[in-house]
Symmetry: C2
Subunit: 349 residues, 2 copies
């Protein structure tokens, strides 16, 4: 209980608003500066929000580096997700009121700050009876996992899904959401020194099978499919060899959805898989998905409600996080870029 | 008129039935033998057909070689498409009668023969007021082109489609079907000594743009899109570099359908095209498409009717063909395997 109280106290303090600002693209540790921010009172359709917590995701770093598909006007505050508490609302604001928790609907809000004034429609309310970390890490990775499992194949209990990068935040959310639906997951991870502890951690989340990239390539993989149906859905966040190998195990007519490219290599598919195995390939980008539903957001609110229900029931845990006070952002950025750390770095305001 | 009469006379002759039989897989010229066939009278639901003409398609050769995704029980008669005239029907046959022209619904019927007894449901009637060559080459390539243009993107007059292998039989059918629908085609071909005559021939069929693989890679391609919308649909029969380059020009959210792999190289897609350009990839195999509709064949008969209408109105010409008497099959096979010949070899029974 104590950390939450501490967070709330800090989050609601009256210190001058501050944020991690960058004026040009570059290495995050080089270009991000903690600066005081001028915050005006909210206009008619605006909301003043005191941020509580905001994680550091890989795509946040790519945005600062200038290598992402979506770039803000500079200068800008970094960070795309997080949770805040409404401090003050404009006259015409109807969807939230002071004390409500809110998360961004859209990317590029600039969440690495203590406080901000945002348009009402840029925010969506979340219940405040879930953990701050759960709420702060909800809008990118669990939403991606939710859409990946919902929008491409009609999956029924007993069906299976294969994914790589299974230890990523999306991967862990996929494991838990699939487990809550009775869907079997085949989870590919990179080999590493502490593999067994990773396997156990993913199994604790509900992973049915955890295999390494090396095992994925071996003929023994066919044994796995003696007691498990071929996956109708493959989720790819890697590219290169990992993806081609994963595709080989996809069921006839199945779909592979690519939502990331950690290996920085393209996706390569044998022509025969397309023609004779009838596999389909497509991509998913949660930012675009939400942008397309910005005006008519029923699907967004249903998804947030479903995910918060799972969080409340302990069926969807946030990724293991290390909390950092905002002023220690340099160490947080360093750890966010360290491979195999298996923890998300989260800034506490 | 004379050749048709000659064909009909030959096709309806009473000589002993013969066919190109192979007892093992291998090089077609080595393993195919012209043999007498024992033909029984048709049973209740069977039809005796005198074949008129049957083309030699690349997939026919792959089937004889044993490298195709669908292989018949051996010994077998080669050939997957062609047209014949019904000579005799079993007691319960209702869909065709003597004198009707028929083509195979399905692959692996063994069409390189003078005569055969087939189940009624393996055949579909075609009108006999189109050319024999048009009917004989209808069931694989024009059907593929028809489905490629119908089933993946909703195309309207003025929209554009890009394809490679544009001089293939499917490619030529795509050009003509698209032209009849008011859809602009961007047609990629391999460079060759007689390029200009090929360009003119495809333009005569209705091609709007004909470009070489080299031109496809050049920055000047963007000039083409000043007066032509980005294609919503890309049709791929090549693989390798050709496919990746073609994909670059696809519109946001467009679809690439792979129906062949002439370059014997896989399809390689940048991860960013999937995630940020939202392109979709899938495959098409006309054999499977028809198999899936074998029992409920409304879509098949509508397609055949539409295609025969276009043939009758001169809007869909068969590919340039060289006709060979069945006994000259060795030379026909040789020419069917000669690159850049730009003519289809067709056996006349």
């Amino acid at each position: 209980m104590w950390p939450v109280l501490r967070l709330l106290r800090r989050g609601l303090s009256t210190a001058a608003p501050r944020g991690l600002v960058y004026e040009k693209h570059g290495e995050p540790a080089q270009v991000l500066r903690l600066k005081n921010l001028a915050i005006a009172s909210p206009a008619n359709y605006e909301v003043r929000v005191k941020m509580l917590a905001a994680p550091i995701n890989p795509s946040d770093l790519n945005m600062v580096q200038g290598t992402y598909a979506l770039l803000p006007h500079l200068p800008s505050v970094g960070g795309n997700e997080g949770v805040g508490v409404v401090a003050e609302v404009g006259h015409h604001v109807s969807s939230v009121r002071p004390g409500d928790w809110v998360i961004p609907v859209d990317a590029a809000l600039g969440t690495w700050r203590t406080e901000g004034v945002f348009s009402e429609e840029a925010l969506v309310r979340v219940p405040s009876d879930i953990s701050i970390v759960g709420a702060a890490t909800l809008s990118v990775n669990p939403c991606t996992a939710y859409r990946l499992l919902s929008d491409y194949e009609t999956l029924r209990p007993g069906d299976s899904v294969i994914q790589n990068a299974s230890n990523s935040s999306v991967g862990q959310a996929v494991i838990q959401l699939a487990a809550s639906l009775g869907i079997t997951t085949i989870n590919v991870v990179r080999d590493r020194p502490n593999l067994q502890s990773l396997v156990e951690r993913l199994q604790d989340l509900g992973a049915d099978h955890v295999i390494t990239e090396e095992q994925l390539r071996k003929p023994e993989m066919k044994d796995l499919f003696k007691n498990c149906p071929r996956p109708r859905l493959a989720l790819n966040c890697v590219g290169g060899k990992s993806t081609t190998e994963m595709l080989r195990h996809l069921d006839y007519g199945g779909t592979m959805v690519t939502y990331g490219g950690m290996a920085k290599q393209p996706v390569t598919i044998p022509v025969s898989a397309l023609i004779f195995k009838n596999v389909k390939l497509c991509g998913f980008w949660v930012t675009q998905w939400k942008k397309d539903r910005y005006q008519n957001r029923e699907e967004i609110t249903k998804m947030i409600r479903d995910l918060c229900d799972l969080i409340r029931r302990g069926k969807l845990l946030p990724p293991p996080c290390t909390e950092w006070p905002l002023e220690d952002f340099s160490q947080a950025l360093r750890d966010a870029q360290t491979p195999f750390l298996s923890r998300k770095q989260i800034l506490i305001m």
